[in-house]
Point group: D2
Chain length 244, copies 4
């Protein structure tokens, strides 16, 4: 069923994930992963009815069995295809609490959703990305979505910063291991509020103060199209009025 | 039984942990935590027979029940005492493997030993450190031991870098939350091979090429004695010949 | 004479500067600055004969009088035009010497070519970039070219690292001051050997081991086209086999 | 005249420089450098009348001739002595201005006072530090004083950030070149307001909100006493209530 080349986007909600899916669907068949089918159904329908190819698979990225089952399905459905790009865009793990109010479940849950989720996703995608090196139109690419908390811990943010730092460490380690093998591993630092349905009504002192999911998707596409002579590992994205 | 002021050192083996224990035992009663009593028995005996006060408690820092039970015991035994310093020096979580050989257990185990271990230790010690603010001779201090992998991911090192990055994020977050409350939180980056029984025979091109555990302990003591006007968060320690 | 929109590229030699000039000349009239006319004459001719518009102005960027005179000429020639992009790509200031062999002239010369050169260039371009905010097709953009030495000092590299660190500080400061005013300031870290005529013959263990100037230029163009909701400040570019 | 071992402190005013001088004068003869004799006369007198040994030499660190003449005098006076420590603590180069108000003199002046000043000081002291390796009681030490602006550029702070970044690059490069030769090079990041006569009246929301010059001096002394097995390169110092 599948087209010759495909991309997998993990962590698809109504914001960045959907924009990335739409952007990569202009060139590739896309597989969208999210725990809740409601998260991807709209964009899957939209892409398919617009002439693209999209499928959604309900997956809990923090659960290795769930991830394994998703990749079994992917391997079967896309057996003759090349995985050109894999994007880890999970939004989970955020919790803001005074440290002494934080439970072990909060902390472990945060580690599971980004660090372990990223690990599971990389374990699933890297064998396919390695296999696609000769057939992918651009070097096969694995991109992780970071945040302000990837670079800086802050008060009442220990759990989220821990898991986002861990995800960045994973990305760096993979870039250094798989870059020389021809897979492009990148980490994007999203520093600011993204304009998604949930944040639509938020007000700011200036207009255009929220990150555009479509612009983020364009930058991810740019990363994907870089030749192996000239890979970017990291790019920080923020609104022009953001303090940093 | 306990003296007026005490310190807790977690992750005590024959190297840095023992040196830290000896250094802090010059001023305080010390509690040493390690999974295996064999790890602390020698130094506990040495300190007690030298006129100091030391007790060891067998604790698995990655297991919150084990940590809870250790702190129940500490709270009882040291009920009238002030916790002046707590040092997290766990050596666990190191694994070097090609990423696609890394199992989920490897990765989760690494996250558990440093990130979750650090979390459990901070949960146990911070209430005691806060309580000691008026009675501790120096601002109550919580120090985490980092590594080269706290700053940089590398090939075949994804698990260890993830957990060490996470531990640094935890330390930064706690410094920003508890510093203004008067607790000194620090993170030391140990960048190089430490001279411990296991590494004793290793050879290098130059003499003095391994970190001295006693010198590390002296720097931790220095951090502990800084007044709250002048807290260091981070210090990187390496042998003079180390490449970095 | 000038078209409606133009770009200025400073530090044009046969490598990256020429590629950036060619890339931006697809959309804009370009002004190329270099001390020696021989550095830009070939690419100016090539662009003009290919249907683009290019002029070269002999300029010593480290000399404020020379820069002032270049910008007087630019302001006159492009009085009705919008400056959409300005790129500082000076290659000067590199010197490798044992520190005690380094002369004051070496050190001051390094500071002059990157730090002062970047300062002079920013002083000349920012007023024009601010004026272009309403008419430029993309947010007016000021990009600085960094290097490995922008992030890390190294033995025998004190002068070059000092000036490259200073240039990065300048870029960061300008991003924080002019970003909120709508000018996009970026810093690209070029980490590796660029394939230019001088390095053409160099051999490496792997093919494609040198950065492509055209790919660098494409990434600069991508930075330029980002909307103000989603500005990147920094991007690191290196060959897939580069150690970092 | 001189005692067996001495230290040189450059950039001595009534604050940190004087505290460092007093601290190192407990162990060594000290030479204090400042442009204006008024800056060091009080502390020189204080040290000498307290049983220590101190001399001041009027020196403009940004001017290589002035530095050369100071070191000629030092070499003569301390010909049989070992230079155990050299501390660069210049306070110059700070200017806060909107970038387009910044003059070339402002920017060059900033580069001269920290970057070139640090270069001149390192050129003068390193030959003496190398010579002292066998006789200094601790590894000969060269410490540079950094600031918040060493790590982060900010709006209206381009000149100061440029020169402080450059000084850090210098320190890193020297640490990597001279560390393996047995000279301990360090960089301290002073992040906050220091309590000196000029800031005495400043008010804050909390007590103890300013850095203590004596505590900074103690940390410098600690750095100096580290053995070569265990050198710290960098330490960040800030008041407990400082935002960072």
């Amino acid at each position: 069923m599948a087209s010759k080349t495909f991309a997998i986007i993990a962590g698809v909600g109504p914001g960045t994930g959907s924009s990335i899916a739409r952007r990569f669907a202009k060139a590739y068949s896309v597989v969208l992963l999210a725990r809740n089918p409601a998260s991807y159904e709209t964009v899957v329908k939209e892409i398919n009815s617009g002439g693209g190819q999209a499928v959604g698979i309900s997956t809990d990225l923090a659960d290795s069995n769930s991830v394994k089952s998703a990749f079994d399905q992917i391997t079967t459905q896309y057996s003759g295809s090349a995985l050109a790009a894999a994007i880890f865009n999970s939004g989970g793990g955020f919790v803001r609490k005074q440290f002494l109010e934080l439970t072990e479940e909060d902390y472990s849950g945060a580690l599971a959703s980004q660090a372990k989720g990223g690990f599971n996703f990389a374990q699933g995608t890297l064998p396919l990305l390695l296999k696609a090196r000769d057939t992918s139109p651009h070097p096969p690419t694995l991109i992780f979505t970071g945040a302000t908390a990837s670079m800086k811990g802050s008060a009442e943010c220990a759990a989220f910063a821990s898991t986002k730092f861990a995800l960045r460490a994973l990305a760096q380690s993979l870039a250094r291991e798989f870059g020389p093998q021809g897979v492009h591993v990148s980490h994007a630092i999203i520093d600011g509020v993204i304009e998604i349905p949930r944040t639509k009504g938020w007000t700011f002192d200036h207009e255009d103060a929220m990150l555009s999911p479509d612009a983020i998707a364009n930058s991810y596409w740019h990363l994907h199209t870089q030749p192996r002579t000239t890979f970017a590992f990291e790019m920080d994205l923020r609104p022009y009025v953001e303090k940093w």
